[in-house]
């Protein structure tokens, strides 16, 4: 197999803060084939956004970054200056979470879409305008000529996100990163935007990284799903595999917390007890041990690494769900009422 299009190896990102160093990403590996979609799933603060911002070279200068990022054979951490000028925004583009703030309120839609084509591809005004109108039509905006002269506040949230997508596609990127593109939108609009993204991706043969905290969103749209927790990947598998045979206790807990439509009304949700670890002061063992029903002493002693357990399926756990060791561990914890990491299994769950 040829080299993957995007390869992130052993990425570590830390931010210096007055209270100490915050380890946002801790030994992360990603690889993405041309034309594929990778979904990164995780709760807030798990490092999803930091990962893609590192790839986009958008981190503030206070961040210290270690590890390798290769895109199309190019070392992204060390790009020659003249190449760097026309790389981000051209070959790799990104869509942000909130369309309400992603657009400059005092610039016309038209100039915001055309500026990158004018700057990177040296298009003439007329060329850029024609291309922008074409893009707006593709992302499903009616009356594109009229929209070009409007300001962002004259459009609805869904329309704005379409404009943001058109903006990102302006220079025909090979890789599109979508950082929670639908979180700020209504549910009905969410579906439209996700369908649109999928369609555009297929037409253009782009690769895509889709960041979301919604497993349902990831399931239908991604080829590969990576579950992140506290700066590390816990489990990575093809979408179908992860739904049918997830192996990490965290993934399992995530699935259990999804309410089912068939449940009667007012069924209590099943939360994951506790809260994510403090990134200023990470535990020595598994990052999830403190909230895990299976946790044993070994889990709190050393960090499990991400091991391959099947085709494209890897998991970072000593006691993968379904293994006999895991079943024993859980039974033992249930009997004791408390896990080796000190999680009380019988008290009312702490909901935060």
């Amino acid at each position: 197999m040829s080299e993957p299009q995007l390869k992130v190896e052993d990425l570590r990102v830390a931010f210096a803060t007055p209270r100490g160093s915050v380890q946002a990403i801790d030994g992360l590996n990603i690889s993405l084939e041309q034309g594929e979609t990778l979904a990164i799933v995780g709760e807030s603060g798990s490092g999803k956004s930091v990962t893609v911002r590192t790839v986009m070279n958008l981190l503030p200068s206070t961040a210290s970054i270690e590890g390798n990022i290769t895109f199309d054979g190019l070392d992204l951490r060390n790009v020659p200056k003249d190449r760097a000028k026309h790389l981000w925004g051209v070959d790799v583009a990104m869509i942000f979470q909130d369309p309400m703030t992603s657009l400059n309120p005092v610039k016309r839609i038209g100039s915001q879409i055309t500026e990158s084509m004018r700057y990177h591809l040296k298009y003439s005004k007329g060329q850029a305008k024609a291309k922008a109108i074409e893009l707006l039509t593709q992302v499903g905006i009616p009356e594109p000529e009229k929209r070009m002269r409007q300001y962002p506040h004259e459009l609805s949230g869904g329309m704005r996100q379409r404009v943001v997508i058109a903006m990102a596609l302006a220079c025909e990127p090979k890789l599109l990163i979508a950082d929670e593109p639908t979180t700020a939108l209504d549910v009905t609009v969410q579906k439209h935007i996700l369908d649109l993204l999928g369609e555009l991706q297929r037409e253009r043969g782009m690769s895509m990284i889709l960041i979301t905290h919604d497993l349902g969103v990831a399931g239908g749209r991604a080829d590969q799903i990576a579950v992140m927790y506290a700066g590390r990947i816990m489990e990575e598998a093809p979408a179908s595999t992860i739904f049918s045979s997830m192996r990490h206790p965290y993934t399992e807990a995530l699935f259990e917390s999804i309410p089912s439509v068939s449940d009667p009304s007012h069924t209590r949700l099943t939360p994951i007890p506790g809260r994510p670890p403090d990134l200023l002061n990470l535990p020595t063992g598994c990052r999830y041990a403190a909230r895990c029903r299976y946790a044993q002493v070994s889990c709190t002693e050393a960090l499990p690494s991400l091991e391959s357990i099947g085709t494209n399926h890897s998991v970072a756990c000593y006691l993968p769900v379904g293994s006999s060791a895991a079943i024993d561990a859980r039974a033992q914890n249930e009997a004791a009422g408390v896990t080796a990491a000190g999680l009380d299994l019988h008290s009312n769950m702490e909901i935060l």
Binding site: M56, P60, M94, S102, N104, P105, Y151, A168
Partner: protein, 389 residues
């Protein structure tokens, strides 16, 4: 000539206001402004009558006999009540008679405006221009540097520096030590500041703060001493008009204009800087970076425009501040503009010219701020003046 041009400029601006914001807005503002001007001038009229002193007495001299003073007061209508006086003054002004001074040769305010108006006008224009020319680029630079990585200053310098200071203080006394410390520290700070980063921002910001805390008359007197008395860079021979040549004109106003400009620079600079810093944190800046736009493009095309709103507001309100400053500066530089005329007029209790001048300043202030309300709409499309759209 210049006055005619100013009037034409005002007319064009007024037409623009009507075109952008509509008749309704223009008429509303005109109504509001008229009310403000009436209130301000009436307050001035009333206050002037409460202040001890009498224009007739000043004009005729303290030795004048009572009949002459009474006659003078009768002729000027000063024996009537405040309302009657205000009414007759307002009628005169509206019919084009701006009033005259009692003192000496009864110089009319129209003549004074013709002779001195342009001087103050140019002083004001140049002062404001200088302030913007300094504050806008520096404000942008400063805001940009504030977000960059700090350059590392070697840590071992600090203990060495402390020990050296202490050693100096013990051997040579505190005064010498302080002088040497300052002589080392200040250039060092400037050196680090000029290399950019947060130190550069701090340098600009601290300098602006220092400048802000120095009163205009101190800057004015200091510069006069340095540039006009110690060196020959500025002639204190007074204003020369455009007719005397551009060089002569500019060399006759540059120093007072610079002082006036410097007095408002730090206000503009700090406002622009803080707005820029705030806007640089906005999502659309990250989006523009993700689009691969250059830093310069982002600063000038994305961040500058939305960052000028506060600056505009304050520039409008600051007109009063600048007029105050101009009066002080004109006084220091013996610059025969409207400011020094106003000081003399107040000293002699020239009631009617003062009232007219106050009315003019109020009108200018209100007009400029109306104009800025309309400029908002072109800077930020989300704002609309009037309701015709």
């Amino acid at each position: 000539m210049v006055l005619a041009l100013i009037l034409i400029a005002f007319a064009i601006l007024a037409i623009w206001v009507v075109r952008v914001a509509g008749w309704r807005f223009a008429l509303q503002r005109l109504g509001g402004s008229s009310l403000i001007i009436v209130l301000v001038t009436f307050a001035t009229t009333w206050l002037l009558r409460q202040v001890p002193g009498d224009p007739c007495l000043t004009a005729l001299g303290t030795g004048a006999n009572q009949e002459a003073v009474d006659l003078c007061r009768l002729e000027r209508g000063l024996d009537k009540n405040v309302f009657a006086q205000y009414w007759s003054w307002a009628r005169d002004v509206l019919s084009g008679d701006l009033g005259f001074a009692f003192y000496k040769n009864r110089e009319t305010l129209s003549n004074v405006l013709q002779a001195r108006g342009p001087r103050s006008f140019w002083l004001f224009v140049y002062g404001q221009t200088i302030a913007l020319l300094i504050s806008v680029p520096l404000g942008i630079w400063s805001a940009y540097q504030a977000n960059r990585v700090p350059r590392k200053i070697p840590v071992w310098l600090l203990p060495i520096f402390l020990v050296a200071t202490l050693a100096l203080a013990i051997t040579g006394g505190w005064t010498l030590s302080a002088i040497i410390v300052l002589a080392v520290l200040v250039p060092l700070a400037i050196f680090y500041g000029l290399r950019g980063g947060p130190a550069g921002d701090a340098l600009v910001n601290t300098s602006a703060f220092a400048l802000l805390s120095i009163p205009v008359f101190v800057i004015g007197e200091t510069f006069r001493y340095i540039f006009a008395i110690e060196r020959d860079w500025y002639d204190l021979i007074g204003y020369r008009s455009w007719g005397d040549g551009v060089g002569a004109h500019l060399s006759s106003v540059w120093l007072p204009a610079l002082v006036l400009g410097l007095s408002v620079t730090p206000v503009y600079l700090r406002l622009l800087r803080s707005d820029m810093i705030q806007n640089l944190q906005q999502d659309f800046v990250a989006v523009a970076k993700a689009k691969g736009m250059s830093n310069r493009h982002i600063l000038f095309r994305h961040v500058l425009r939305p960052s000028t709103l506060t600056l505009l507001t304050v520039a409008g309100l600051n007109i009063a501040q600048i007029i105050n400053g101009a009066i002080v500066v004109e006084f220091i530089y013996d610059y025969d503009g409207m400011g020094s005329y106003l000081i003399a007029a107040v000293a002699r209790r020239e009631f009617f010219p003062i009232q007219t001048l106050v009315a003019l300043v109020a009108a200018l202030f209100v007009f400029a701020n109306t104009l800025i309300d309309v400029v908002y709409t072109t800077v930020d499309p989300r704002v609309s003046a009037g309701d015709d759209k």
